[in-house]
Symmetry: C2
């Protein structure tokens, strides 16, 4: 029944699309399709049917108009397929650029082909990757003066059949240089908590001098790259990072309380990860690392200068329990049993002759890494792109990160394939991107965006990122403001993942938000960095979205799931503890399918234009609340003109949205396209061609993360970057910084005025 | 008859346009037009009629399809109106930002309004302008030690009633700083010919040391800003620039041989002009100088550091005849009678105690300058812009520069107005731009482009510049390659200006080209800088065109018309000597109208895609001929990949053009728009967001002038810039430069590959 109805409704689309596409640049169309060119009348009646069908899909009419198609899609997404996909993807480790990574790339391509995609290609880039030495592992050792008394571990203990593979990469931090550093006899390391700026400032206050010492810090709170950067800035010679039980084994450290019996991390689990502060291949900053592209030398690349190595909490205990020195602030005390968390660097008396040596042997070389790009050609507007992205490479088995997302992508491709077999075709082109080498610093996606910036700026309607789909039960979504309403809308047509079928995903999301923050409506969340949406949102200015099911950070007060980037992130872990029954994976896939189809099929783009100025206004209000606005007004009294410009932009956006409601369903297709173009250009207004002050690769002036915590979202990042540590400046430096602030506020004001003008009229400039 | 036919053919356009526009964003349309929304069938039949009509206007069918409209336009352009326009525009001097300049701005706006334009606005910017001191004129004086023996003139002698006005600005060079420099006793100035790099290198060879001396040079060959820049680089303390008879009074210097009896320049004629090397307001480099925009300080601005003053050849004679020193190379010898053109700096014995003092009193202040922007709203695609530009400000009466172009613009506006009264409406929006403060460095156009870059990049179809329409009898056109065929095509439907009505303008153009260069076909000429097309072509990447009727440089071997920027550039000069009968003005206006309408009305954009790669290939061939390619291959062997990429781009472009011929007239309007978009995006591929190496304001990587002669056109300017003086580099500097060259060639290769991909397919990236 629903089948029949669906065929009926999409039939018209298909026919008209068939003929329209036939006309597209003759020599690309197959002779058969060009042969089917009808006379203009039949074309027209079909076209208007199509327009009517599509207009039903416009935001406000979605619920009723799209119901059948929605139900059909929800029915088609299979938990069994998702489980099989994940099992195959996680069978062996698939580090970027390895043979297994290439095998999986081919598998993904073949799945796209089987689904009936119009194109499915392996797109190679040659990028700089860092790896440990397979025969000479990175080690931390303790030496009593006579003998080496202890050495750290470089692989996890085998605790379940799923977590042993000889190819599993040894513990390391990518791009951390090879090097050996040793403490001075009698001295150990200094404990610096999370190695945040505020932690180091606290140590300064306490009179602890970091310079010349090796530091040890906990994972968590901020990106590990920032931890190294901060440690370098304070003069550390090396960094040891450990996973603290307080963050990874909250319920206890006995075998019954950890993996494989629970999802909590055992003491030998080590979080791998990159320490690169940039995005994309370090040797081609700003341009694509194609086969023959020019490359800078490794020495010129912006990579960390001091060695760094991750360890588990069992090994951390061996080091920390021997330390003396001042007591750490109470909130610095972690969860390792029988460890006092003193700061060091002194050893306890019995180790007074001991030294600690950190020795890394990582090497960097250029490897080929594949993106897999598959497309479903849009029949009415092939030159408009709705993009779904997820990376493929993992530090190990990557059961959550990223394979839960990849499992979803493969199933979503299959479902679109089924719909196409039944006659459906999207109005716009849908692009599936399976990225390579994301873990090293978004290499695959960044290089691809750098190669295709023009097309993405002119043709990119939206980018949807689903990286780690399933690492916990809690749905979390973030997006460019103009996509936010779409995200919320679509969670309403996805059944909940907690087994109560009468609840929608949106119901579950709201309920959790209410419990967590006590608010009734879900607050709009803008994007941080940390996954492949970053180059789309912050460099190319394509409206983007990123969603996932994550740990209950509110309940556990932890920032990520325990097994993150360790040897215990296994299929067993996901199948047994994180998503038994694969309802979360199912929700991920259903949501992706609905969002893509809504954006691809709506004749008028369902953007929420108003959300952009409203989010800007809220950000300015926050600056007021924090008293930052008066600080800015002192520097540049014309700051008030920015507030005024945002208000005018808001009014214009509201009028624009109203005007869209009045549009006749018989609107000329060219006018419709022109209106869609007008909306697509809005995000581009805020892209600064040369980037934010001092940040050529971050070009979005309003919605991008600040430079000093790349994980966290921020609005007006240029302002926070320029205010950073300004109080420490004086004289010429201060004047220079103040002028940069004046210039930037002036730029923001002009951009905002232009955004308003863009919405005001089409025929004047 | 032709009237009736025209009404018939444009009738359809009008009706359909009327209804389509009615639908454009409801609240902008007047209630009356929205009320006329028809049912979809009538809309459709009209729309297809319109499409059929438009498809007749496609390049290959222009001659037959557009004949009636063409004839009608040719008939309507009136020489009397053009003469009246010029007379009014030149009645008084109208320096940028003066009261008279504002009066004329209002007049232009009112003419647009009277013509029935949809919008006509004064658009102000606040820009830094330089002016001489009205009561304390700039002077060059000779002092014998006892007395001031001589002072230079600062205004032209009155020779005709047209050439006296108390408001006429004194002789000066804009942005040349206030300052007084004096030669050491016994020493005069050094004669440096045209002050080109090659002239100074010649002087170096001759062992002449410039440092610490005032130099005197001739106008001509290169932009005066480059003359100052070169002189600064060689250490000159001041610059005197004179107009040499060999360039401005070729047929003799007796009263019968010069103005007012001929068009040749009298000895008191002084060429004013700017010395600014940048484009746009010096205080807002890269962003629009709106009322409240942030501004850098005058000290931070990139302005000349040494004083500079222009003089006539009578005054130059007084100085040069007293000089001794080595003889100048024979080709440095100009046309001043009884002057030996020795280099100096020594005086002849009888002046051994004398000194020369150059004293300037220019000041820079911020003034308001108006652009006048008028639009005729396109009825099918209001968001596509065809732009006609011409500046309004002049150093004096500006009879040729720019008022001959402004006279043309006013008449062209009137003619479009007449056509609209008869029912015609363009498919796309036509924008008339009357720029302010062009003479100071393209201030009005550059600021406007900086404010509207996004819209121009997304919506700009073409920019047509008609600055100095009539300064001589010889037609000269230059354009972005993809517009070249349009320029040639349209000159074929414009009657010749030499009175033989059986000849077209194209016939005259070809004949002159054949006589000058002996070639049968007119070689494609790309754009140099020097007028308002520069920001469109080189910053925003809008395909641009610049044409004019100029002096017969081949016959006279001079680079510009004699009265250029002097007090003798009067209405009388143009009416009597340059364009008696105003046939040249008429040709200018007819050509502008045909080009604008062809671009505005053709349903498919009549770009010549092939011309772009072919012009690139020719440029690479020239590098080969000059042996530069081997030099580049030595630095970067992957240079050959650029040649390969250009070849592949050429093949793709030819296939693309072929495919356009196969397109059915019943093509879907959305597909048609998509194909036009695809063509529009081609130029954008070559825009480098941060500009060419070291040139943030010049962003076109292929068709832009080189940094070291801003008047001359060049292809691959980044390459010539980076090779400039590379042989003088060594060690680290050389390596750095070589790496910049490698990087740039790599960038060019990637851009060219992307250009090919853009033409290849729409639905994949």
């Amino acid at each position: 029944m629903s089948n029949q109805r669906m065929l009926l409704t999409v039939g018209a689309v298909t026919m008209v699309a068939g003929v329209i596409i036939g006309a597209i640049i003759g020599h690309f169309a197959t002779s058969s399709t060009s042969a089917t060119l009808p006379n203009k009348n039949s074309l027209t009646s079909q076209e208007s049917e199509e327009l009517e069908l599509m207009s039903q899909l416009r935001r406000d009419r979605w619920q009723e108009g799209g119901k059948e198609m929605t139900r059909r899609i929800n029915d088609m997404v299979s938990t069994d397929n998702l489980r099989d996909n994940l099992k195959e993807l996680t069978r062996r480790p698939h580090l970027a650029g390895t043979a297994r990574d290439d095998e999986l790339a081919e598998m993904v391509r073949d799945r796209f082909t089987e689904a009936g995609f119009d194109t499915a290609d392996l797109v190679p880039y040659r990028v700089l990757l860092s790896r440990p030495n397979a025969t000479n592992p990175n080690l931390i050792s303790l030496n009593s003066g006579q003998n080496v008394e202890w050495e750290s571990h470089y692989k996890e203990k085998e605790l379940h059949q799923d977590d042993y593979d000889e190819d599993f990469v040894h513990a390391f931090n990518a791009y951390s240089p090879a090097g050996t550093v040793t403490t001075t006899p009698g001295e150990g390391v200094i404990y610096v908590n999370y190695a945040r700026v505020e932690d180091y400032e606290e140590l300064d206050k306490m009179g602890v001098n970091i310079s010349g010492h090796i530091v040890i810090c906990r994972y968590g709170k901020i990106y590990r790259g920032n931890k190294i950067q901060n440690s370098e800035r304070w003069g550390a010679t090396g960094v040891i990072i450990f996973s603290d039980p307080k963050d990874v084994a909250v319920e206890g450290q006995t075998p019954q309380e950890i993996y494989p019996n629970t999802w909590w991390l055992p003491g030998s689990g080590m979080q791998r990860g990159t320490t690169y502060m940039g995005d994309g291949d370090p040797l081609t900053p700003g341009w694509p690392s194609t086969e023959n592209a020019y490359r800078i030398s490794k020495e010129e690349a912006d990579l960390p200068k001091i060695p760094c190595q991750p360890i588990g909490y069992d090994d951390a205990k061996v080091i920390l329990e021997k330390l003396e020195g001042p007591a750490a602030p109470s909130d610095w005390i972690g969860g390792i049993e029988n460890v006092a968390y003193t700061l060091g660097p002194e050893w306890k008396p019995e180790y007074s002759t001991w030294t600690l040596t950190l020795s890394t042997h990582n090497t960097e070389n250029i490897y080929r890494s594949y993106n897999v790009i598959g497309t479903i050609k849009g029949e009415v507007e092939p030159d408009r792109y709705i993009i779904l992205g997820n990376h493929r490479d993992a530090w190990g088995y990557g059961a959550s990160d990223p394979s839960s997302g990849t499992a979803q992508m493969l199933e979503s491709a299959r479902v679109f394939g089924e719909l196409m077999k039944e006659g459906w075709r999207p109005r716009r082109t849908i692009v599936f991107c399976n990225w390579g080498a994301e873990e090293y610093g978004l290499l695959g996606s960044q290089e691809w965006v750098e190669e295709h910036t023009n097309k993405l700026q002119a043709r990119g309607v939206a980018y949807v990122n689903v990286d780690t789909c399933a690492s916990g039960p809690i749905f979390r979504g973030r997006s460019s403001p103009i996509l936010w309403d779409i995200l919320e809308e679509m969670t309403k047509v996805v059944p909940g993942t907690k087994g109560q079928d009468n609840l929608s995903l949106h119901d579950e999301w709201s309920a959790y938000t209410k419990w967590k923050s006590g608010v009734d409506s879900i607050p709009l969340a803008t994007l941080g960095a940390g996954s492949d949406h970053a180059p789309f949102a912050f460099f190319a200015g394509v409206p983007s979205m990123d969603y996932a099911f994550k740990v209950d950070s509110h309940k556990w007060n932890i920032s990520t799931y325990p097994a993150y980037h360790t040897g215990y992130e296994t299929f067993y872990m996901v199948d047994k503890h994180i998503d038994p029954g694969f309802k979360i994976h199912q929700g991920c896939s259903r949501l992706a399918l609905h969002i893509l189809r809504y954006l691809a099929d709506s004749s008028m783009l369902p953007y929420s234009i108003e959300q952009m100025p409203k989010t800007m206004a809220k950000a300015l209000k926050d600056l007021k609340i924090e008293g930052i606005d008066s600080k800015l007004i002192n520097i540049y009294d014309k700051y008030v003109l920015l507030e005024e410009a945002v208000d005018n932009f808001t009014v214009e956006a509201i009028n624009f949205e109203k005007s869209l409601q009045d549009i006749s369903p018989n609107i000329s297709p060219v006018t419709l396209r022109a209106i869609n173009d007008q909306m697509m250009q809005l995000e581009q207004i805020f892209i600064m061609p040369s980037g934010l002050p001092g940040r050529p690769m971050t070009r979005h002036a309003v919605f991008a993360p600040s430079q000093f915590d790349t994980y966290a979202a921020a609005a007006f990042p240029g302002i926070s970057d320029l205010l950073y540590l300004i109080d420490e400046l004086s004289g010429k430096d201060l004047t220079k910084r103040q002028n940069e602030i004046r210039r930037h506020i002036s730029d923001l004001t002009i951009m905002t005025q232009n955004a308003r003008k863009l919405l005001k009229e089409m025929h004047i400039i």
